[in-house]
């Protein structure tokens, strides 16, 4: 019996790429949509809102994680925050924020920050806690004060774990920023949300672009994570 291979998606894909590289009339008429200029504009907005969120999340979560990890306290706090963060679906978080705070770049960024904090906080905390106690004792023995212990021993040794956290957050945030057009920020998600205007080709193009962006971010942070491994650790067989 002959089996019809569902290869229709291949032509769907080529249409989607055509949408990315050439402008065309909107399905609803009257305006031109698609094409590199618009794609870049949306991509830039997408990168801006995601970047801002990840930046703020790092600024909050890394110092907090270092402090908690160094003190060896607040394990319950760090773990709880992370668990709650994981339990709340990102969509619900954004919806909650938009309903109570309103729309716009700042509010969307804030909502995404909340989404981004838990993995970074937990990974920072865990990264610091798993630093070999002997190394810290040795540092203290050499006369390092607590601040120096954090800066010169705990932070460098925790970096791979921290970057792992940022990597998880970043992919989450980039994917979730897709719904930002519902809250006043025109990201690549507009292609997906307004498919009546952009057509199915536009919608697929949007999905491809968001996926590509997430993969790029993932790859970039994976690279950083690898680079951040202190040479001493990389030479050893710890990893």
């Amino acid at each position: 019996m002959m089996v019809d291979l569902p290869l229709g998606f291949l032509s769907d894909f080529s249409e989607a790429f055509d949408f990315i590289f050439n402008t065309r009339e909107a399905q609803t008429g009257g305006v031109q949509v698609g094409g590199p200029a618009e794609v870049l504009e949306f991509t830039w907005e997408h990168v801006k809102v995601s970047g801002a969120a990840i930046g703020v999340a790092c600024a909050v979560a890394i110092p907090a994680g270092l402090a908690l990890g160094h003190a060896g306290k607040g394990e319950l706090l760090a773990i709880s925050i992370s668990n709650i963060g994981r339990a709340v679906p990102s969509l619900a978080l954004i919806a909650f924020f938009v309903a109570y705070l309103g729309v716009g770049f700042t509010n969307v960024t804030l909502a995404l920050v909340l989404l981004a904090i838990p993995p970074i906080l937990t990974n920072t905390y865990v990264g610091v806690r798993q630093v070999d106690r002997d190394v810290i004792d040795a540092g203290r023995g050499m006369g390092l004060n607590p601040q120096q212990v954090v800066r010169r021993i705990e932070l460098p040794l925790a970096l791979p774990s921290i970057f792992g956290g940022i990597r998880t957050s970043a992919v989450n945030v980039v994917a979730t920023a897709t719904i930002a057009p519902l809250a006043g920020v025109l990201t690549l998600g507009d292609y997906i949300l307004s498919a009546n205007v952009y057509g199915q080709d536009g919608r697929l193009a949007g999905a491809i672009l968001v996926a590509l962006l997430a993969l790029c971010v993932e790859a970039a942070f994976a690279g950083l994570q690898r680079l951040s491994v202190p040479r001493g650790l990389a030479l050893g067989d710890h990893i």
Binding site: A95, V103, G184, S194
Partner: protein
């Protein structure tokens, strides 16, 4: 245009605030004033037994209610009815209909003409009956059957708080001329690029707004209430228009927003198989659906937080279509 974007989740969460607020104001269970007399009870027809129908709908309140009304009525007529009431946008719904995943769903004539049949919004017949006939003819070419339309029409509209409208002294969209550059407009993301929305307001009325902000349609009243939006794109059948008197719509004097009746669209195959009972039942139960009634039904779901299923049942009961 008329479609919920972020599915149930956002709508649910966003509406939660509303619900809590309104619950505090007391719960008056207003009954639907259908005012229909002489409606006849749908009789179970033995001929329909064993005939299966899958009724679909798009993904927002009015569609859920309409889908339920048609589904329950057809069930009362003896059909074996399945429901698939959250199909998403009209493109998805049309695909489901053509692919046989659903046998029928309610669609707006204006949406059908613009989204399916490449009619420009300004070319939609101003006469509603003509628009219906045009879309029926187009559907037929696609192997689909569109039944007679609902009494109510539904359209987008520019809404604003009454206070603000009085302050500016505007009652029509044209009145916004010379004032719009200081006003913010909020609408669904796709409004931005549509001729029957922002683009039309810019081209046909020559209006320039201070800023257009895309927002989930579930928030179309929130943005007015929070003072973020001076103007918001709302629907003429919105529950809020019947329950609140502090929101007004501006008259669309240049007819940018095409009005649409709802027609129940079925695939030819399903219609043939279902027989005459389908058409009869559908055209019977929608008789009571005036604009006012549709607003009230929407209000019972959006404001009173009743289930679309229960609201549809109440409508059918109170109108005397089922017992």
């Amino acid at each position: 245009m008329r479609r919920g974007h972020l599915p149930a989740l956002l709508a649910a969460v966003a509406a939660l605030a509303c619900a809590v607020l309104l619950a505090a104001c007391g719960d008056d269970d207003s009954s639907t004033d259908t005012g229909s007399t002489g409606a006849k009870v749908i009789e179970r027809n033995a001929d329909n037994a064993g005939k299966q129908l899958t009724v679909g709908s798009k993904n927002f309140t009015e569609q859920f209610i309409l889908g339920e009304i048609y589904a329950q009525a057809l069930q009362a007529a003896g059909y074996e009815v399945k429901k698939d009431l959250n199909l998403g946008s009209e493109q998805i719904a049309l695909r489901a209909l053509k692919g046989g995943d659903v046998d029928a769903y309610p669609e707006y004539t204006s949406t059908a003409l613009t989204s399916f049949f490449d009619v420009q919004p300004q070319d939609i017949p101003k006469d509603a009956q003509q628009a219906v006939e045009d879309s029926q003819a187009q559907f037929e070419q696609e192997g689909l059957v569109a039944y007679e339309p609902t009494p109510f029409t539904s359209a987008n509209a520019v809404g604003m708080l009454k206070e603000k409208a009085d302050e500016l002294g505007v009652t029509t969209v044209s009145d916004l001329e010379g004032k719009s550059q200081d006003l913010t407009l909020y609408g669904s993301p796709e409004c931005r690029q549509r001729l029957d929305c922002l683009v039309g307001l810019q081209q046909d009325y020559g209006l320039r707004f201070q800023k257009f902000t895309p927002v989930d349609i579930g928030l179309r009243y929130d943005v007015l209430d929070k003072g973020q939006a001076d103007l918001s794109i709302i629907f003429t059948t919105d529950a809020q228009l019947s329950t609140r008197d502090d929101v007004v719509t501006l008259e669309d004097d240049k007819q940018v927003f095409p009005p649409g009746n709802v027609t129940f669209v079925a695939s030819k195959a399903a219609a043939d198989q279902a027989g005459a009972g389908l058409k009869e039942t559908v055209e019977l139960v929608q008789q009571g659906l005036s604009e006012r009634v549709m607003q009230e039904l929407n209000a019972r779901v959006d404001v009173d937080r009743e289930e679309p299923r229960a609201v549809a049942r109440a409508y059918l009961r109170e109108s005397g279509y089922i017992e």
